[in-house]
Amino acid sequence: MTTQNIPKIMKQGSWVPWLYLLPALIVMSFFIVYPMINTISLSFGNKDGTAPASTTCVEGKPCWGIFEDYRYALTAELNFSSAGALWDSFWKSSFGNNLKWIILMTAGTVGIGLAYAVLADRVKYEALAKAILFMPMAISFVGAGIIWKFVYDYGTKQVQIGLLNSIITSFGGKPVSWLSTPGLNTLMLILVGVWIWTGFCMTILSAALKSVPEDILEAARVDGATEWSTFWKVTVPIIMPTILVVITTMVINVLKLFDIVYVMTGGNFSTNVIANRMYTEMYKNFNVGRGTAIAVVLVLAIIPFIYFNIRRFLEQEAIR
């Protein structure tokens, strides 16, 4: 914006721009800025925000004073009796699950999305191939939850109406209760997330791939590079900025993820994630202090990405 010159003639009245900004600024400050500040202050309070969090401390139990709600948010799911128990309980906690989500879902969506973008580029039915992968983006998480709950259905001894168990039993295997087996169930939920979001990554990466100049690739091929090494040594470095953008977008999305878990398991069988835990504290246990503390933890996790986003914006502006 610094480089964009606004013609002098257009500068009429210093208050005019604010008239155009006013509706948006009012709504945004009321719905985003003010609540953020309020949430932070509530996170230091008790159940209904009437007294400081330190008053909820229980005699003889660990207490973090004014940060009592944060103690709950960070440690309530963990078991500190031994290092092994801590490790196990971490991977069953909402933080451990969110970490699994971040790593596996980001890797899955970006990996499959990139591979598919490269391959679909080489077939004649590219448009159809992409539309099909992209279609789940139009489906709500709730709808996707139903679709996959049906795929994962754990039937009776005789009848399997769930696709996955039916495939397993037709090969003589035993049906698996995909959604209530701890450890396995989070993976199955992540698979649903991958199904939904791969199309998003694929579309953006595909556009980036198409913008790689053909003559650079041609030059590499003429020099005797194989397709494989051309891809890794020429294409990938060129589209790296886009890959990073997609990765950060995915991580942010995953951190906020709520609906899939809420609909498919309700956070039970150790599948909970931060956003669902916040919802439970807030609207099922009606504990405002704890709920907001979890929300603040979520924002703290996202802050690095806010920074990344602004920095990328500044870089883009510099080349405009």
């Binding site: 992968l133 709808g143 942010i252 807030m282 602004i310």
Partner: protein, 394 residues
């Protein structure tokens, strides 16, 4: 085809295989949902949806042993009408069936020259006969699940049969007004529309104003304010739910459409303004200069130049915001809840508290997907364009 082309063809086979297999994996779950939603309840719970098009079990064995005399529909012999439940109940189990088949008729073997079926075959025939008598094989597909989902039917059989026997639930009238039953998807569809349309128009309108100011007007703190806006794009919704619901409780906005519209507007704006400003900023400045030299005011320029030119960006944003609001569960759950249920709420309620059967869930889920799918496939171009312009919303 020369050698090169043949080589090229074969070297591409792996690509095709991977692409096509991925396509199949991606489409099959949704296809399963669609097919299931169209099948009768009994069929859904006893066989997988992939068997919907195959012949029912026992059909082949029936053809082999029975159809010559009884006919393919089982009605050929009036004395032994196999569609009659009274007749079939005597041979409904494989042992009963075998016993009957072993008894000679008029001193001739029951099955004539054909040998008797094995016990396994007899069992499948018995199942097939039960189907014939119960009319189960008659209709493979039905729309009754959709009717049940639309009116919010919760009983054990179906809306149509309950209504014809006058045993319907108290909240059903068995006329067209049932579509508006608060428990049904029909009402939820209307609620979803009422939530989504204003919640799509408002942020676009506000964003067009603000985007114009950011792109073409000069004011103090323009750059800083916009950088803040970029940061706001990724603020999670969860961060603001509690304070807003507390304020709404005081203002009486909980459970109202206005409350949800404003909330979605607030959260849609950062990204909408970002996209608008980038789009408008890329228009040539000569255009604006010329308009001002002709003496146009900002308002005239905005109305008759900016809005028409921004149509592609408005279309992209519109689809984004529409899909986002339509598919949202969390905001609807918190601010609307059960008083004015939208489609996502209604479905999640069926899953979490009612444990509704698959026939209702699949039909309801598909009903909620129809409109976004239509919007998505008809306007895919704009959707992709908007996404590429920097989608960091979610």
């Amino acid at each position: 085809m020369n050698r090169d082309q043949i080589n090229k063809f074969f070297s591409r086979i792996p690509t095709h295989v991977i692409v096509i297999v991925t396509m199949i994996i991606w489409i099959v779950p949704t296809l399963g949902l669609l097919i299931t939603s169209l099948r009768p309840v009994q069929a859904i719970n006893t066989t997988g949806w992939w068997t919907a098009f195959s012949t029912p079990p026992g059909a082949a064995a029936y053809q082999q042993y029975c159809s010559t005399c009884h006919g393919t529909d089982g009605k050929k012999l009036p004395n032994a009408d196999l569609t009659n439940p009274a007749v079939v109940s005597q041979v409904g189990r494989s042992t009963q069936l075998l016993a009957v088949l072993q008894k000679p008729i008029d001193d001739q073997p029951h099955t004539g020259n054909t040998s008797l079926p094995t016990p396994q075959e007899a069992a499948t025939i018995a199942v097939y006969l039960r189907g014939l008598a119960g009319g189960a094989t008659a209709a493979r597909f039905t729309l009754s699940n959709y009717v049940d989902a639309l009116v919010g039917y919760r009983g054990r059989s179906s809306y149509a049969s309950d209504c014809s026997s006058h045993t319907q639930a108290l909240d059903l009238q068995c006329n067209i007004s049932d579509v508006l039953n608060p428990r049904g998807m029909g009402r939820a569809f209307i609620n979803s529309l009422l939530v989504t349309i204003p919640a799509t128009i408002l942020p676009i309108l506000f964003a067009a104003f603000a985007g114009y100011a950011f792109a073409w007007l000069d004011f103090k703190g323009r750059f800083l304010l916009f950088a803040v806006l970029v940061g706001l794009q990724v603020v999670p919704l969860q961060m603001t739910l509690v304070p807003i619901s507390r304020i709404y409780a005081q203002l009486g906005l909980n459970g109202t459409f206005l409350g949800v519209w404003l909330f979605h507007t607030g959260f849609g704006l950062p990204y909408a303004i970002y996209l608008m400003r980038n789009f408008l900023g890329s228009l040539p400045s000569d255009l604006f200069e010329a308009a001002y030299i002709d003496g146009a005011s900002h308002w005239t320029v905005f109305r008759s130049l900016v809005i028409p030119l921004a149509m592609p960006a408005i279309a992209s944003l519109g689809i984004f915001q529409f899909l986002w609001v339509w598919n949202d569960l969390l905001v609807a759950l918190v601010f609307l809840g059960g008083t004015t249920p939208v489609m996502t709420y209604q479905i999640s309620n069926m899953v979490t508290s009612l444990g509704a059967g698959w026939q209702l869930l699949t039909a309801a889920a598909f009903l909620s997907m129809v409109l976004p799918m239509v919007v998505f496939f008809s306007l895919q171009r704009y959707f992709v364009r908007g996404m590429l312009a920097g989608a960091v919303k979610g």
